[in-house]
């Protein structure tokens, strides 16, 4: 009946039981000094070991088939694990990309021997993935990618450059999009192929690209005759465009799409105390109302995924609203900060936190599908394209 529909989905009781288990695990990791939830910007000392312990808990690839080491648990259970990890600022970078998108892509499109080799290692928390999409002249327009894969005996030779590739310098594998033939007059999306790339392959060089947030994460990845075996092709040669959209629903609707700057709200609420200036109270109430609504929408999309639907438009809506909101959040907090009554050292800690969130905010509406791309998808869903 209506053009857009979100059910009032609730997480079932067993998910809330799992939540307790995840919280207890994270508390013990914090107590053991693995990471500091109040200082996510400094990173974790033992992220590798942490990944393996998360893997041992069965919380990586938990929805995946049992035959690859997964647990075939629900998207709703995965949702709970993801949001608790995010809220605690746990060092999930090492496994999260593989858990969220690389693994599901491999399950759908990779060769069986690759699945049997790679998926169990992801699940054990041993493999770190990056995504090779953007190029100097190809960002939102994925189909403009020009880094070439040329057929050779037993495989493919890659030549060209990917840029702004997060974590490429420490990743074990990349799932990259490379040009295997030209686009056609009928279909400009034709000619691109998805590959699994072992980052230790000779002929791959990573150079760091500094970021305005001070983080060391972006890379330029240069390929010079890097050899990729035939069985590392993911899906159809020249037909990657057919594989591109379905996986994005997973990537776009998760809790990480509106909780990225949650610490700013937490710091504000903490600094406000029990009886703040009424303007601060009103400000907190309004932000919490907006956050709660985003989370309810996101849980609803998790329910649609669990039901086997492909909520591409709904996921795009969650990411559009969620990233615009989390981008604005540190600015809203800043507007209220002058009304807080803080001691000098409290003020310094609060400002440091806020500065970090203000610095990361501009990227949030770009990564994983820009606001403009998302609104195009929503417009198509409304029947306008």
């Amino acid at each position: 009946m209506s053009l857009i529909h979100f059910d009032a989905m609730r997480l079932p009781d067993h998910c809330q039981e799992l939540r307790k288990e995840v919280r207890a695990f994270l508390e013990s990791e914090i107590a053991a000094g693995t990471f500091d939830p109040d200082r996510p910007e400094v990173g974790a000392k033992n992220a590798d070991e942490f990944s393996r312990r998360v893997g041992a808990k069965g919380w990586i690839g938990m929805t995946w088939p049992k035959k690859y080491g997964g647990q075939e648990r629900s998207f709703l259970e995965r949702y709970v694990v993801t949001e608790e990890m995010r809220i605690a600022n746990a060092p999930v970078r090492r496994f999260f990309v593989a858990d969220r998108q690389s693994g599901p892509t491999l399950i759908r499109y990779a060769h069986e021997n690759i699945k049997q080799d790679v998926l169990p290692r992801i699940i054990r928390g041993e493999l770190f993935f990056c995504i090779g999409m953007s190029e100097p002249n190809s960002g939102s327009d994925l189909f403009a990618a020009s880094t070439k894969a040329t057929k050779t005996n037993g495989g493919w030779l890659i030549n060209g450059t990917k840029v702004w590739t997060s974590s490429a310098h420490i990743a074990d594998y990349m799932i990259g999009l490379f040009r295997t033939s030209g686009s056609t007059r009928e279909n400009r999306r034709h000619g691109l192929t998805s590959f699994l790339v072992d980052m230790k392959t000779p002929g791959i060089a990573c150079r760091p690209i500094g970021q305005m947030s001070g983080q060391r994460d972006f890379n330029e990845v240069v390929f010079q005759d890097a050899f990729i075996p035939d069985d590392h092709v993911i899906g159809e040669v020249d037909g990657a465009w057919k594989q591109a959209t379905s996986e994005l629903a997973y990537e776009r609707s998760g809790p990480e799409r509106f909780l990225e700057t949650y610490d700013a709200l937490l710091a504000l609420t903490n600094a406000a105390g029990a009886t703040p200036d009424v303007r601060v109270t009103v400000g907190i109430g309004r932000l919490v109302a907006q956050l709660h609504t985003l989370r309810r929408m996101s849980v609803s999309v998790a329910g649609m995924l669990e039901a086997g639907r492909e909520p591409v438009v709904e996921a795009a809506i969650v990411k559009d609203l969620g990233t615009v909101w989390e981008q604005g959040l540190p600015h809203r907090v800043r507007e209220l900060a002058s009304l807080l009554d803080l001691e000098d050292d409290e003020e310094d800690a609060f400002r440091n936190k806020l500065d970090f969130e203000l610095k990361i905010a501009p990227k949030l509406t770009i990564q994983g599908g820009t606001t403009e791309v998302l609104r195009g998808i929503i417009a198509r869903g409304l029947g306008l394209r």
Binding site: L3, R19, G285, L291, H292, A379
Partner: protein, 356 residues
Amino acid sequence: MSASETLVVETAARVLADLADPQTIVQKRDDAWKAPLWSSLQEVGLDLAWASETAGGAGASLGDGFGIVREAGRAALGVPLAETLLAGWLLDRAGLTAPGGPMTVAPVRPKDHLTLDKTGRVNGQARMVPFASDVEHLVVLANGDEGPSIALVRMADCKLKPGKSLASDARDTVEFANVLPVHRARQKESGAREKDVLLLMGAAVRAQQIAGALERILELSVLYSQQRVAFEKPISKFQAIQHSLARLGGEVAAAASAAASAADTIANTSFDDDAALLEIAAAKIRCSEAAEVGTGIAHQVHGAIGFTDEHILHRFTLRLLSWRDEFGDETFWSLKLGELITARGARELWPLLASR
């Protein structure tokens, strides 16, 4: 949603489409449609869906009632269907019988308070009471020495100062001077938020109306953009229009999600639970925000025609904007929610959100 709920909501949609079509209403420019609509609503029991059968109502579920209210929003309905549902719900909480006919409720503003004296008479003033001049009875929540009571009052026993909403629906000031109610009783369930139940339930109802009306203006705007040709093509083909409508779609989705979540919470949780305050406050705040952004985009897409009185868009716009003010506006609910969050402390914020 069960099959029977769907049937009730479908019936509401059909009756409203047949007898309260906005296009017909703006063309006729009179109130002749209201009487046949009301008798039809009464005939199928939609007006008292929330009153139990023993109290003269239809005894429908809370979900059904919220579904009816949403349909009323989709029609930008200017008769007291939502208010009569609310009145029936209040009467039912106190085990009182509904008199029949349209009713309204008071107070709808957080600052207005009615009192019940020792002799059982109601005193005080309630402003912006919806459709007070169009009904014979109103149901009030009034505070006495024993706590809040629910009372059925005859409008004829009160003094009325007429007023209008943005949409020119009656929003009247009602003065109660030693008014003896027809019936009165305490609520069957007591609790810490007993005195706030009308504001809480009313806010959830207005959120549903806003969500329904926003859904409809999205449909109207999409359709209009596909029909209206400018610069030699339908304006729906311009990226600027597509992105505006995508934003409208996002606001509609947020409003519908927030309203549905609050309705689901009321159906399954006590008002005393902090989660109920979170859900209802969030719904009223977020729906009201969506009303501002959504009506702005709908008008921008429609251009000048949407501003004329012969077009139906204004019936939606003006009600959407006025519903924001009733049963607590964004600032009121932000304050209530902010007080809850700061009293619980920063560490308890995430656990509350995650419990939903």
